[in-house]
Every structure is written in structure tokens, then in C-alpha cells.
């Protein structure tokens, strides 16, 4: 027991980070499950993070109401972004959504309420490990149930053949917007948890590299099922830490391992767990 608590106190930051990254990977997975490569999730993270931190620090709101209000704001932003980009596909959608993320970051740099480039410091550590992991468990459970529902079947149908899906009475626009809003809400919520488990936030936390990490986690883990992004996040967060002994070669080996996973397990790590679909 003592060893366990010692382990936790030494690694709690990393443990929290895995949970947050898993939520972020799930946020990008939701839109992928509906066939959309949306790469603006760092923008939704920033919206909820700044909104909830400001509500707690300036307006003295309690933690959960502040986070939920910020999450609602991200979902609305998701709908507002989703509407004009409905007609875009593939790389065009990706570029438009990256643009959105950059716009949010530039606002954060230039507004005084967000503390500009220096960000906001002195954030209380309110997102504990139990809160992060119970949130993750709930998100995994709900998304897993979603994939088995009528809406989840519609998501998969749109992802695999939008024309055929519409021919069966599925309204692609409605489901894509729903996927956008859900993805934005999860990204935002994770952004708030991340903010409340570090001491300060600044615009550099929400740069393009952030969404690349999310996408890599989802793809390496496997986008065929809800377990994939979680597994991918664990690997992508732990790998750089366990490779510390390689010193300067760390990033090279890290990149090579990911390359091998993609080449030899194109369906992602999850295909090792779930062999049903592997062949």
C-alpha cells in the first residue's frame, strides 16, 4: 500500500495527463466515427479552459458549474463551427477547422481578459485524479453505448458511404452537427480538467501540436472502436517517459515505434485486443 501511494505521489501528474489525453483522443474520435477529420479541438479546449478558469477565479463560481458552463460554451462553438463547414470534406475540412483553432489561440494571445501571451496563473488544483478518471470512465461508457444506438449506426453509415446513408433516410447534416457538438464538448471538458490540474494556462497550450497528439493517439490506438483512442493515449503519453534513458535519441525512437505500429497494425493497437475484426 505504501509503495502504491509512493508511486502515485511520484507520478500523479503523469497519471492525470494520461486521463486527460484519453478524453482528448476520444473527442477527435467522435468526429472521425462520423467520417469527419476535424482538427480544431485545441480551440474547444481553450474556450472551456479559459471560460471555466475565469468563472472560478474572477466570478468565484464553484468548480463543477464553471466547468459545465465552459463545456456548454464549447458545444455551442462546435455547432457554430460545424454549420458553415458541413459541405467540406477530407483535407478541406481539416484545414478549415485548423483555422478555427488558430483563431481561438490568437484571440487568447491578444485579449486582456485571458492574460495575453502570459496566460493565467494561480489556478487551483481542483481536477483530482478520481474526478479525471471517473469522467473518462463515464465518457467511454456513454460513447460505447452511443456506437450501438441508432445514432451510432447512422454515424458509421455516414463515415463509410454518405450517399448510401442519405438514401436510407439518414440526414447526414444533422448527425455531423451532433458529432461536432459532442466532440467539442468532450475536448472542452478535457481542456478544463487539464487547466485545473496545472498551475497556469497560456495560449501555447492550445497550439496545433496539441491536436496532432490527439489524432496520433486515436489513430495509433485504432479508430474502429472506443477502446482504441484510450489505448493510444496511454502509449503516446507513457512512451516518451519510459524512453527517457535514451536521452537525445528519445524522440527518434519514439517516432520509430509509432511508425511501426501504424505500418504493422493499420487498424491500431486495439485490433490486438479485439481480433474479431482483424481479418
Amino acid at each position: 500500500m505504501h509503495a502504491l501511494t509512493a508511486f502515485y505521489s511520484a507520478h500523479s501528474a503523469l497519471i492525470n495527463q494520461i486521463g486527460v489525453n484519453a478524453l482528448l483522443a476520444l473527442s477527435i474520435w467522435v468526429t472521425l466515427a462520423c467520417g469527419q477529420l476535424s482538427l480544431g479541438n485545441m480551440g474547444f479546449m481553450a474556450i472551456t479552459a479559459y471560460a471555466s478558469v475565469l468563472l472560478v477565479l474572477r466570478a468565484h463560481w464553484p468548480f463543477f458549474p464553471a466547468v459545465l458552463a465552459g463545456t456548454g460554451l464549447a458545444a455551442i462553438a462546435g455547432l457554430l463551427l460545424g454549420w458553415p463547414v458541413l459541405r467540406l470534406r477530407g483535407v478541406f475540412l481539416a484545414i478549415a477547422t485548423i483555422g478555427f483553432g488558430e483563431i481561438v489561440r490568437i484571440f487568447a494571445v491578444n485579449l486582456s481578459v485571458t492574460g495575453g501571451a502570459e496566460g493565467i496563473a494561480g489556478i487551483p488544483q481542483l481536477a483530482s485524479t478520481p474526478i479525471i478518471y471517473s469522467s473518462l470512465a463515464l465518457a467511454v461508457f456513454l460513447l460505447w453505448r452511443l456506437t450501438r444506438s441508432r445514432a451510432g449506426r447512422a454515424f458509421a453509415a455516414i463515415a463509410q458511404d454518405e450517399v448510401a446513408a442519405a438514401g436510407l433516410g439518414i440526414d447526414p447534416a444533422a448527425y455531423k452537427l451532433a458529432a461536432f457538438a459532442i466532440g467539442a464538448a468532450i475536448a472542452g471538458y478535457a481542456g478544463a480538467l487539464s487547466a485545473f490540474s496545472s498551475f497556469f494556462i497560456s495560449p501555447t497550450d492550445y497550439s496545433f501540436g496539441r491536436v496532432v497528439d490527439m489524432l496520433a493517439s486515436a489513430v495509433v490506438g485504432g479508430i474502429g472502436s472506443v477502446g482504441g483512442p484510450v489505448l493510444g493515449s496511454i502509449l503516446l503519453t507513457l512512451l516518451p517517459e519510459t524512453l527517457r534513458f535514451l536521452q537525445n535519441y528519445r524522440d527518434v525512437i519514439n517516432g520509430l515505434i509509432l511508425l511501426f505500429v501504424i505500418v504493422f497494425l493499420p487498424q491500431g493497437l486495439w485490433s490486438l485486443v479485439d481480433r474479431r475484426r482483424a481479418s
Partner: protein
């Protein structure tokens, strides 16, 4: 009844379909034939909202449908299949048919999210119905195979099962017998006619296989260069000189 009245579709100056009037009454099997490039698939695309007429109207009973989106037209009860398979490749045959039940699926989202037992029972019932439908098309043993791993003939039948699962009023089939051997073709024809009769579905059949069309259809319309050149019973159409000319060319010319 679906009625096209004076429908024209231009693609940059080319008349893909020109001033076409065509009626598909309830519970009938109508054939639509014509040489390659005659505009048959364009007619299907116009009827299902994938293309919008340049002029003219398309109505389901009294209701105009020519400016509705594809999913809205599907919701009114018009189902179709495609010339090349448009099954969802990563889903099993069974899952494809369950997606076809989208408009009638009664497993609520809240029930699914909470794992509410009556909802799960309803979802299970959908799967049972889908399995039965695949059984009617002789696909019981292939129900759990991924769509992309099915043989072309099997894919064709799953696509028909998926369309029937919509419980449509009208089913538009785009060359269902393409690439099938004569034995498979005969079997498919019998299955389509049986399913349509049992469920009171009208069928519009685009087909190149003449024996298939002649045997399956009560009426046949013939398109050539986007225009309807003949319509009538199979015997009338077979004897029509303009049809023979369109298919075989005119003797002494060229």
C-alpha cells in the same frame, strides 16, 4: 404513384434527360431500358434527390419531391440500389440491413445510453428482423460476414435487403443483374418479384439483361439519348421499330 412530368436534366448543354414523362403506379413493376448513356441512371438520381431537374416536376402522389434532399425523399418511402455496390464495407451484412431500418428503428438514444432493458430488447428485435430478411434472400449463412468480403452476387442481394428494410413504397433498382450468371439472374428476379408482391412495393427496374426485363415487368419504357422513344407492354416494346432501331441501328445507314 411516382410521376415525372416534362423532366429535363442538362449537364452543361448536354441533355442527359429531355422532356421525360413517366409514371410508376403503386404495386407495378416498370422496366426502364435503353442503350448505354441513354440517361437511365440519371432518371434514378433525379427521383432520389441526388440530382435536381433543370425543368419539369417529380411528384409522389400529389406531393412535389424534386427539390427535396435525398434523406427526405427516402423518408417518404422511395428506396434504391446502385449500379456498383454501395454497401457499408466495414459492416456485416446484418448491420447493413439494420442501418436500412433507420427510419423505423425504435431503440431510443436515452434507452441505449443507459442500457434500459426494453430498449435493448427492441434493438435485438431489429437484428432478428434483419436476419429474417437476409434469410428470405438466401443469405442466412452470410449475415455476419463483412460486406466487403461478400461475393458480388451476395452484395447485390444484401443491398436489396437493405432497401427492403426501409419498408419503402417504391424500390428503384439500377441494373440488379449486372455481372450475374443466368442461374443467379433467374433466382434474383424471382426473389425481387416475390418480395415486392408480398410487401406491396412498386418497382422501377433498370436493366440491360433483356430476358430479365421482359419476364419481370408489366410495362417497359425505352430511353434513347435522354428521350422516351417507346412505352408499353413487353410485346409492344419488342415490336416497336424505333426500339429496334435504337438497339440495332438502321439498316443501310453508316
Amino acid at each position: 404513384m411516382i410521376a415525372l412530368a416534362g423532366v429535363t436534366k442538362d449537364y452543361g448543354g448536354v441533355h442527359a434527360v429531355k422532356d421525360l414523362s413517366l409514371e410508376l403506379p403503386d404495386q407495378t413493376v416498370l422496366g426502364l431500358i435503353g442503350p448505354n448513356g441513354a440517361g437511365k441512371t440519371t432518371v434514378l438520381n433525379l427521383m432520389t434527390g441526388l440530382a435536381t431537374p433543370t425543368s419539369g416536376t417529380i411528384a409522389l402522389d400529389e406531393r412535389r419531391i424534386d427539390h427535396l434532399k435525398p434523406h427526405a425523399i427516402a423518408a417518404l418511402g422511395i428506396a434504391r440500389t446502385y449500379q456498383t455496390s454501395r454497401l457499408f464495407p466495414q459492416m456485416s451484412a446484418l448491420e447493413n440491413v439494420v442501418v436500412g431500418m433507420h427510419l423505423h428503428a425504435d431503440d431510443s438514444l436515452l434507452g441505449q445510453l443507459t442500457g434500459w432493458p426494453p430498449t435493448l430488447a427492441r434493438a435485438q428485435r431489429l437484428r432478428t428482423q434483419a436476419r429474417e430478411l437476409l434469410g428470405e434472400l438466401g443469405l442466412s449463412e452470410r449475415a455476419d460476414a463483412l460486406a466487403r468480403n461478400l461475393a458480388p452476387g451476395e452484395q447485390r442481394r444484401v443491398e436489396i435487403a437493405r432497401a427492403i428494410a426501409m419498408q419503402p413504397r417504391a424500390l428503384l433498382l439500377d441494373e440488379p443483374a449486372a455481372g450475374l450468371n443466368p442461374v443467379e439472374t433467374d433466382r434474383l428476379r424471382a426473389e425481387i418479384l416475390k418480395l415486392a408482391r408480398e410487401r406491396n412495393i412498386s418497382v422501377l427496374l433498370i436493366e440491360h439483361d433483356m430476358s430479365f426485363v421482359m419476364a419481370a415487368c408489366e410495362r417497359i419504357a425505352v430511353l434513347n439519348f435522354g428521350e422516351k422513344i417507346a412505352e408499353g407492354t413487353p410485346d409492344q416494346v419488342r415490336a416497336d421499330p424505333r426500339v429496334i432501331e435504337a438497339y440495332l441501328g438502321v439498316e443501310g445507314v453508316a
